[in-house]
């Protein structure tokens, strides 16, 4: 296979062509979730709990059903009461039963905004009037919002059947702590005994929402034959298909999900909220049903990331060697288990080569919306705390903040606390770039300060499918199963063009629906450019093999005697014969006579993605009278591997930095205010 990452003579990869979706988006023609409509569609609306925690005594939908223009009303009673089953469908593990209970509350509401019923009606105003006619009788229960209060003995219990996993012996009383996880290496006590200096701190982070511009939206339709189609914007249409099938008790083969343009996700669209509800409403009404969240619903009922409390203690020797690192991570999961505490544990100290590490994580439910993935789920939370403590060690030792990181930097051969031994990695290069950057040495003004933090993320591979077709005129279509939230269409087109040796303008990338391309995992976990890119490159190579065969047929020579060069078939050498090169267009024109259409699909389960490291330097100025904080300068140093389309990569880095700044300075969920 062509390893684009290592090639030196790249022509397309690394350039900045116009994005294939650009014109559609800037002219307003792109069809996002809320733009899509089907003839005869009904408007759906969801009734949501006004209580943080309550038992549902009764839901009376009779008045809503009787309202003229109302075509369907549903509650959890209309969904199969499925049993607990682990699901690895989105980004991070979840449970199908929890997802069912999250899309429609059964028995209890667990957070303000939890869906309790839904309607579909002839117009938005009828749908809203119908919601007002649904009578829900609640028995309000004590609730708990704060993660540590939820962990405390005597806290209101959300789920009587939840017993903390990962503790021995198995507990006999239910708890809001869904899981306790410990990762360790070396001997933490011995490590601290060796330390000359010790730093520790307790860090609290807020739950913040991904706040994608586009609220969740879908249209679902299901025919009398049971064939269903869902049109939705998400980070994974195969993910939607899996959840709909499980939550509604349907066959995968009866559901087709067609991806629409997506207006941001950041991890928050790796899960379903609306699609199973819309499908059920369509089934009841016999009409297509459209559901669109309002911004308020997005904030109330879709997943933010975890707020957390993280306690970190680290010890170092006089020379700066960190000899012990310990952390306790308490992550909010929202109303159902499944916070990203596991990656939080794995990432906290991953930048460092530390002999003795002991990290404990708690996955804690409370009366908040279920958390969803958010840009390197779990990692920024624990890294934030760990990086502060590393800085404290440096201060105590009188060391430069980059120097202490260099002293302890993970490198090839470093074994992580989660068991992986790093191959060649870029952390030291990132630190060197930070140290030599003018920003690190630039003078600071009055009331200004400078901070640095470094971070780690695994990057993953996973299952992806892509197909590459040569059209009759020699242009090329690339179809992949990955929704494009960060430039994947451009990247796929560029990789195919690179391998084929043709201009990227001759390649049109699209996203195939669940029935027209092989299974593909969600766009998340920093996997698409790698895994879907691998599928695209391999499919392109298969196409080149076919092109060479066709040329061989046209020239009547052996396929081995044909080379592919600069977008053309050429004789492999003098012995092959003195033929003029055959362009892609020339071969395509003769495809019918040489065996039919040319194209190939490849599905992969990509392995071996390299991890990413980053170091960000930020200067702030603080108004000492008001506390107002202004970002003066921000420099991001990021180990990105091979940037396929550098503008997109820069956009990702800028977006990440901006979201990080918002998280640090402005954003939080305030309940009970």
């Amino acid at each position: 296979m062509t390893y684009i990452g290592n090639k030196s003579d790249l022509r397309v990869v690394g350039t900045r062509p116009d994005r294939p979706d650009g014109v559609e988006k800037v002219t307003g023609r792109a069809v996002y979730g809320a733009d899509f409509r089907l003839a005869g569609q009904l408007t759906g609306r969801i009734l949501r709990s006004p209580h943080a925690h309550a038992r549902i005594i009764k839901i009376d939908t009779s008045k809503a059903k009787a309202l003229p223009g109302v075509k369907a009303v549903m509650t959890a009673e209309d969904l199969p009461n499925i049993t607990s089953e682990e699901a690895f469908v989105g980004e991070g593990p979840t449970n199908f039963r929890d997802q069912s209970l999250n899309v429609m509350a059964r028995g209890k509401v667990l957070y303000e905004g939890h869906a309790v019923a839904a309607v579909a009606a002839m117009s938005p105003s009828i749908a809203e009037a119908a919601l007002a006619l649904i009578e829900v009788t609640y028995e309000v229960l004590p609730h708990v919002i704060d993660v540590e209060e939820a962990m405390a003995p005597g806290a209101p219990i959300l789920d009587e059947n939840l017993f903390t996993a990962g503790v021995d012996p198995k507990p006999t009383t239910p708890s809001n702590i869904a899981k306790k996880i410990i990762l360790k290496s070396g001997d933490i006590d011995a490590g601290f005994a060796k330390a000359d200096v010790i730093a520790e701190g307790r860090y609290v982070t807020a739950a913040v929402h991904q706040a994608y511009i586009e609220p969740h939206a879908c249209v679902a339709t299901i025919g009398a034959d049971g064939q269903a189609t869902v049109y939705a914007s998400s980070q994974g249409h195969f993910m939607i298909r899996s959840f709909c099938a499980k939550l509604l008790g349907m066959e995968i083969s009866n559901i087709r999900v067609i991806p629409l343009e997506i207006g941001g996700g950041f991890g928050g669209k790796t899960i379903v909220y609306l699609e199973p509800v819309a499908l059920k409403l369509s089934q009841i009404s016999g009409k297509p049903v459209k559901l669109v969240m309002t911004r308020e619903e997005v904030f109330r009922a879709s997943g933010p990331t975890s707020g957390a409390v993280v306690e970190v203690k680290m010890g170092a020797m006089k020379d700066g060697t960190i000899v012990a690192a310990q952390a306790v991570l308490k992550y909010q999961a929202g109303a159902f288990p499944g916070s990203p505490v596991q990656p939080g544990l794995m990432c906290a100290f991953a930048m460092y080569d530390i002999a003795n590490v002991h990290v404990t994580g708690y996955d804690v439910i409370s009366n908040r919306a279920k958390v969803a993935a958010y840009r390197a789920p779990g990692a920024p939370i624990s890294s934030y705390a760990a990086e502060q403590v590393v800085d404290d060690l440096a201060r105590q030792l009188g060391m430069d903040a980059i120097t202490i990181r260099e002293k302890n930097a993970a490198k090839a051969g470093t074994k992580t606390v989660y068991g992986v031994t790093f191959p060649e990695i870029g952390y030291e290069a990132v630190l060197a770039a930070a140290k030599s950057h003018a920003h690190w040495k630039a003078p600071l003004g009055k009331n200004q300060g400078r901070g640095i933090a470094t971070g780690f993320w695994f990057n993953i591979g996973g299952e992806s499918s892509a197909s590459v077709f040569v059209n009759e005129d020699g242009s090329v279509s690339v179809v992949s199963g990955s929704p494009d939230i960060g430039g994947s269409r451009a990247s796929m087109a560029m990789m195919a063009a690179e391998v084929l040796g043709i201009p990227v303008d001759n390649v049109r990338p699209i996203i195939g629906d669940t029935a027209s391309i092989g299974f593909t995992n969600v766009t998340g976990g920093s996997r698409v450019t790698y895994a879907t890119g691998m599928a695209t490159v391999q499919a392109t190579e298969k196409v080149i093999e076919q092109l060479k065969q066709r040329a061989a047929m046209i020239w009547d020579i052996s396929p081995d005697a044909v080379d592919w060069k600069d977008g053309q078939a050429v004789p492999a050498g003098a012995n092959a014969g003195g033929f003029d090169p055959l362009s892609l267009a020339a071969i395509a024109a003769k495809a019918g006579k040489t065996g039919g259409p040319i194209g190939s699909e490849v599905s992969v389960n990509a392995q071996g993605a390299g991890p990413g490291f980053g170091a960000h330097i930020c200067d702030v100025e603080v108004d000492r009278e008001t506390g107002q904080t202004t970002i003066i300068r921000y420099t991001a140093i990021q180990d990105v591997g091979r940037a396929i389309h550098p503008s997109y990569v820069e956009g990702q880095i800028q977006g990440g930095a901006v979201q990080g700044i918002g998280w640090a300075l402005n954003e939080e969920y305030i309940y009970g205010a």
Partner: protein
């Protein structure tokens, strides 16, 4: 479904009689940047909307012998583009231009900002400090009241049924005068004031303050006119001691609430800080 009527009369008297004779809730519409949001959220369900923007004079700015008449529905953007107004009353304009975003500026008006009667509204403190007068049309004819007499409580005004504001009058700026407005928000855009402060001053030839008006927003149920703070300025130059007195007088009158934007203590402290900073700008604009 409940009915909603929309009407856009072309005369003041027509608007007055529509408002006065309405049976259900009748609302005046200027830019709609508050009203439509409240209707969409379901907080407000008017039966009648009377759009005033078709009435001649409701939009536009006239300068008469150095004084200004601003149509009640004039957008912030139009105010910001009026060079004469910007030169004379920069504090009023900067307060109005802080409202919302570029899009909101294309619609948001002084009358709407005032009559929405939010304690955190940006333009009312500046209008109050500048001595603006609201001209009110109603069933009983026209009356003129100082802007500080309009808002009576959050969401409530002193306007009677059938009344609405047609224009605001800003006096001719006296020689050696300056006004300024600052608001504090934790971020730089699109947020509602934690504290707003406006100050208008007139100095004598020696730079001594001979007239002053200080108004605070977001620290009490209505905008506050801080007489003690004005007294601290009058007869003085802006020395450290005077600034300290101004700060203390402003803090003394604050009756804020604690909410997600700030605690009582924080709002009170920031009111003093802003007053000092605003005074410095106003004095400088007055030629100090």
């Amino acid at each position: 479904m409940s009915g909603l009527s929309y009407t856009a009369p072309s005369t003041i008297s027509e608007a007055v009689s529509l408002l006065a004779n309405a049976s259900g809730l009748a609302k005046v519409l200027s830019g709609g940047t508050d009203l439509l949001v409240q209707m969409k959220s379901g907080r407000l369900k008017p039966a009648l909307i009377v759009d005033t923007k078709k009435i001649p004079g409701m939009i536009g700015i006239r300068e008469i012998d150095g004084a200004f008449v601003i149509g009640a529905a004039t957008s912030g953007a139009l105010m910001g583009e009026h060079a004469g107004l910007v030169a004379a009353w920069p504090g009023v304009v900067e307060a109005t231009n802080l409202i919302g975003s570029t899009q909101v500026q294309g619609r948001a008006s002084l009358a709407g900002n005032l009559c929405n009667a939010s304690p955190g509204a940006d333009s009312p403190p500046a209008m109050i400090a500048a001595g603006a007068i609201a001209v009110i049309a109603g069933p009983a004819g026209t009356r003129e009241v100082p802007v500080e007499a309009i808002v009576t409580a959050p969401g409530r005004t002193s306007l009677a049924k059938g009344e609405f504001i047609t224009e605001f009058r800003l006096p001719k700026k006296p020689a050696r005068s300056g006004d300024a407005y600052l608001r504090f928000i934790p971020r730089t855009e699109m947020d509602i004031a934690v504290v707003g402060c406006a100050i208008a001053v007139t100095l004598d030839a020696n730079g001594v303050c001979i007239a002053a008006k200080v108004a605070l927003g977001a620290v009490a149920p209505t905008q506050l006119v801080v007489a003690g703070a004005a007294a601290a300025l009058i007869g003085n130059k802006l020395t450290d001691a005077v600034l300290a007195k101004l700060d203390a007088e402003c803090q003394a009158v604050c009756k804020p609430i604690t909410d997600k934007r700030g605690t009582i203590e924080y709002r009170t402290k920031v009111a003093g800080v802003l007053a000092r900073r605003v005074a410095a700008i106003a004095f400088q604009r007055a030629g100090a």
